[in-house]
Amino acid sequence: MGKQARKLWNVISAVSAFMLTFSIGATVITSQYSNKINGFLGIQGSELVETGEAGETPIYYKSNFKSAKEVWEHNSDVAKRLEAEGAALLKNDNQALPLAKGAKVTVFGRSSVDLVKAKDSNAKGTNIDLKTQFETNGNLQVNPTLYEAYKNCGVTGTRVKNPGGFGASLPTVCNVLEAPMSVYTDEVKASYNTYKDAAIVVIARDGGEGADPNPAIAADGDAPYLELQSLEKEMIQEAVANFDKVIVLINSSNMMALDELDELGVDACMLIGGPGGYGMLAVADILVGNTNPSGKLANIYTSSSLSAPAMQNFGDFTFTNVDALDAELQEAYGGAKNASRYTKYVVYTEGIYVGYKYYETRYEDAILNRGNATDATGASTGSNWNYDAEVVYPFGYGLSYTTFEQELKSTKVNNDKTVDLTVTVTNTGNVKGKSVVEIYGQSEYTQFDKTNKIEKAAIQLVGFEKTKELAPQESVDVVVNVDLYQLATYDEVVNKGYILEEGDYYLALGDDSHDALNNVLAAKNATGMTDSFGKAVSGDKDKVYTWTLSETDAESFKYSAVTKHRVTNLFEDADLNYFIENGVTYLSRQDWKGTYPTPLTLTANQKIIDGLKFTYKKSNNTDTSQFKTEQDNCLTLAMMVGAEYDDPHWELLLDQMSVDELLTAVARACKVEIPSIGKPLNYLQDTPTGFNKGPYYQEPVGYAELDKSEKSEYKPPQYPTEPITAGTWNKELLQELGDAMGEDGMWLLVHHHYAPGANVHRTPYSGRNFEYYSEDGFLSSEMSAYQVRGARMKGLITYIKHFVTNDQEMNRTGVSTFMTEQTLREIYLRANEGAFTKFYEEGNSTNAQMGAFNRIGTVWSGAYKSLMTDLLTTEWGFTGISDTDFANWTHMETKSGIMAGTTDFAVTNDVRAKEVLTDLETDADLYAKLRESAHRNLYVIANSQEMNGITATMKLVPVMTWYTKLCYGMDIAFAAAFVISVVGLTVTTYSKKEEQ
C-alpha cells in the first residue's frame, strides 16, 4: 500500500511539476507579448475608467450613419461606383458592347472562378462570385456548365510567390493558373448553344507583397508573365471559333501586353483591374449598358511588357565585390549577412522617362527627327523604333458608349502662376455619360537643359477634371486649373531649385497623352503624326494654349509653397555619379541610341561602402538632466485634443511619461497602451483596398465603450485596386473613398490605416502595382491628396506609403536605389507630394507616412535626414507620424532613424527600445529627438477619431484578460497540486525508510 502510494505521489508530483513549469512559462510569455496577443484577439489589456463627473461622451469625428447596415450599404456602393468609373473600355469593335440586358453569356477563363483581388465581399463575410454578381438584377445569365467545369478542373494555387518570402530575395514563381484545354469537353461545347450571346474571357494576373511577377521567359518557353500565354491564346481561339462576340476582361493591376488581342479576333476588351468585393456588379452594369464606361488608363499599355527602358535595370543586381562588402559591413549589421541587402542595388537609369513619358517623348523626337529617336536601340521589334509598334493604348485612354466633343473655350493666366483653361464638353452621342478633360503640358527642351543634365518629357499630365453625367447633346463648361509648378523643371546644377526656363510652353487638351501630344505637334506645324493605332492624323492646334517665356524664372518656385523655406538640392547623394564619377549615363533625349540603358554592373567603391555603414553618431551633448519624467502634471491625452502642435502643455504631457513609456510611444510602435496619459491600445490595418477586418460594431463606439457594443453581421467592403481608383480620374469620388474608409475605421475601431500607396509604376512588373495608383506622379499626387482629404475629415490616420522609391519588391529590404535629384523630385516624390501639401492649409493633408525598407543612395530611407526632415518637415511642413513599416531588418537602425526624423518603429518587442536605451541617458540630442517623436505621434493620435468617446478625466487602468486569468488559474492549480504531491511523496518516502 505504502509503495503504491509513493508511486502515485511520485507520478503526481512529476506531472504537476512539469505542468507548473509550463503554466508559469505561459504566464510570463503571454505577459511579455500581451500587446501583440491583445491586438491579434482585438481585446484591451486595460480599460478607460471615468474619474470625473459623468457627462456627454465626446465624439470628435462623427459618423454619417446610424447603423452598421447603413455604413455597409453606403461603402459597398462607393466600392461599386469606383469600379464603374475606373474600368476602362479599351476596344469595342462593331459595337460589340453593350450587350442586351439578360444576355446569355459563356464566361471563359479559370480566373472567372478565382478573380484577383476580389474577396470578403458580402455582409456575411463570404465571397460573392462572378456568376452571382453578373446575374444580379438580371443583367446577365452565365453558362453554368463551363463555370462549374472550371471549379472542378483541379487547377488551384498561388499565382505569384517569392520563395524568399516577404524579403523577396529570389525570382518569383509565376503561374497563370489557366485550365487545360481538356476542360472544354463535348458537354461544355454543347452548352455554348444555350449561352451564345457572347463569350466573355477573363484574363488575370497578380503580384504581391515581396513578389514581383517574373519578367523572364517562362521555363517552358512561353511568353513573359505579363503577356498572353499559349494556353490563354488557345482558350481565346476556342471562344472566337464558337461565338460571334468575344469580350476580354483584363483582371490585372499590372500592365499587360495586349497587342495580340486584335490578331486573335477579339471584339471588345475592358480593363477591370482588381475589382474588389463588389466591382463585378459594376462590370456587369457596363457590359449591359446600365453604366456608360468613363474610366481612363492610369498607365500606358504597350505591345511588349519588357520595352520600357526601366526594365533594363529592374530586379536583382548585386555589387561584384560581395566579399569586400561582407568584410566591412557584415559586423556592422550584427552579423546578419543577408538581412540588410547591402550587396544589392538598382539604378534608375531611365531617369524621368517612366511610362508614357518615355514613349511619347521618343515619339515626338521621331516625328521631329531628333536625338536618334528612330534608331532600333530599345525597339521591341528589332527594327527601327516606331511608336505604333510599341504602344497599344496610351496613357489616359478609354472609350465610351457615347461620343464627346471637347473645345478649348478660353484661357486665363492668374497671378499665382496658375492657368485656368475652360473647356466646353458636349455629349454628341445618344446615351448619357461622363467625360474626362485631360490637360497636358510641354516645356521646350533647350540647350540649357542639354548642358545641365535636365531632361524634359514631351508631354506630361498637368490638370484634369471629370464632368458630371451629361445627357445626349448636353454641354458643360469645365474649368481646369493648372499650376505651373507642374511644368517647372528641377535644375540641380545651376539654380538648385525649380525653374521655368525661357522658351516655348504648351498646354494641350487631348483625349489621352498621345492625342494631346499630336495637338502640340500640330501647334508646332509638324507633320507625319499618327494616332495610337497608326492612323495618320494632323492634330488640332486649336486645343493648345501656347506662350513663350522670354527669360528664365527661377523665383516663382524658389520657396516652398507650404513652409516658404528655400527649395534646394537635398538628394545629390542619391545619384550614383556622386559615388562613382561617370558611373552611369542616364537616358537622355539628346541621344536615345547612345544613352538607352543597359543592365548596369557595379563594383562598390570605398565611398559606397562608407555610405552603407551606420550613420548614428552619438552627440557630445551628454547632459540629459533637463528632461523630466514621471511628473505629476495631471494631464491626459484627451485633454490635448485640439491643442496646437506647439502648445506648451505637450511638454508637460511628455514630462509625465516614464522613459519606458517614451520608448513605447516611439520604439515599440505608438499603437500600444501608455497608462500615464490615458492612451489605450489601438488597432491598425495594412491594406489600401480597405479594411480586411470585421465585422463592424453595431455602433461607432470609442475605446471607452467597448464593453457596451456588440459586433454586427456587416463586414467592410474590399475596394478596387488603386490603378482602378486612379482610372476614375474623379477626384471627388476619391474623396468619397477616403470618407468611406474613415467610416470603416470608425465602425471597426481601427484608426491607423496604412494607405494609400503612392509608389510609382516604374515598370509593369512591380509586385505591388495593385497598391499604387499610376506611373504618373501628378495623377498619383492628385488622387492620393483627395483620398487622404476624405479620410482625414473623418479623423482616420492615413499612412501614405512606402516613402519612397520602393518601386520593386525584389531585394526591397535594403536595396540601394540610385537616381538623379530631378528624377526623384519630379517622378517619385511628386507622386506623394499632393497628399502632404495640397490640403495643408485646410488641415487635411496626410498626418502619417510609412517609410520604405530600401535605401536611397546608400542610406535606409528612414535614416535619410534629407528625406525625413529636410524635405518632409522643412519643405512640406509635415509633423505627423513617420512610421518605419515592419522594423525587423538590421539596416533599419533605430537611433539613426530617430535622429533623421523617423518617429515610429513598427514593432512591439523590446529590441528597438533597447537600442535607444544604450545611449539615451548620455545623449541629449537623441533624448530630445525621442521626445519630439513621441510628441508628433501623440499629436496625431490626439487629433484623430481614436479619441472618440474618451473624456479628459478618464484614466487607463489595467484589466485582467481572459487568457491571463486562465494562466493564473493554471499556476494556482498546478502549484497546489505540486505542493501537495511533494508533501505526499516526501512523507511516504521517508516514512517507508523509517519503517525499513
Binding site: 507520478v11 512529476a14 512539469f18 538590421t890 518587442n909 518516502t989
Partner: protein
C-alpha cells in the same frame, strides 16, 4: 549502488541530462542576434539542473530529483519565449531568418530532456 538502480528510469534520467547538455551547448554555440541574446540565466538553470541530476544519480534525495527536469523544461520555455520573434520572422519571410540546425537541436533536445527527465522520475531513478 547498482543495487539501488531502477534500469529504465535511470537510463531515461541519464538521457535527460545528456540531452540538456547538448541543448545548452547548441544554444550557446548558436549565439544571439538583435532579437534574442544568449541568456546567462537560461544557461545557468540548465547547468544547475544537470549538476543536480548527476548528484541525484549518485545520492537520490526525494523530492530534489524533480528539479533537473523542471530546470530543463524551464530552459526550453525561456528559449521558446525569447525566440518567438525569430519564429515570427521565419514565418514572415524576413531575410536571413531561417530555422537553423542549432535552433532545432536546442528546441528538440531541451524538450526531450524535460520529457525524459519527467518520465525517468516517474519510473524511478532509485529502486528504493
Amino acid at each position: 549502488m547498482t543495487k539501488n538502480m531502477n534500469g529504465k528510469g535511470r537510463v531515461l534520467y541519464i538521457i535527460s541530462i545528456v540531452c540538456a547538455l547538448i541543448a545548452v551547448a547548441a544554444y550557446v554555440l548558436r549565439g544571439g542576434d538583435i532579437f534574442a541574446q544568449v541568456l546567462p540565466v537560461a544557461v545557468g538553470v540548465t547547468i544547475v539542473g544537470a549538476l543536480l541530476g548527476i548528484i541525484m544519480m549518485i545520492k537520490p534525495i526525494t523530492p530534489l530529483e524533480l528539479v533537473p527536469f523542471v530546470c530543463f523544461f524551464a530552459f526550453f520555455l525561456i528559449f521558446a519565449g525569447t525566440e518567438i520573434e525569430f519564429i515570427a520572422n521565419v514565418a514572415y519571410g524576413t531575410d536571413g531568418q531561417a530555422i537553423d540546425p542549432a535552433f532545432v537541436v536546442t528546441a528538440l533536445f531541451s524538450f526531450v530532456a524535460a520529457i525524459t527527465g519527467m518520465v525517468g522520475v516517474i519510473k524511478g531513478i532509485n529502486k528504493n
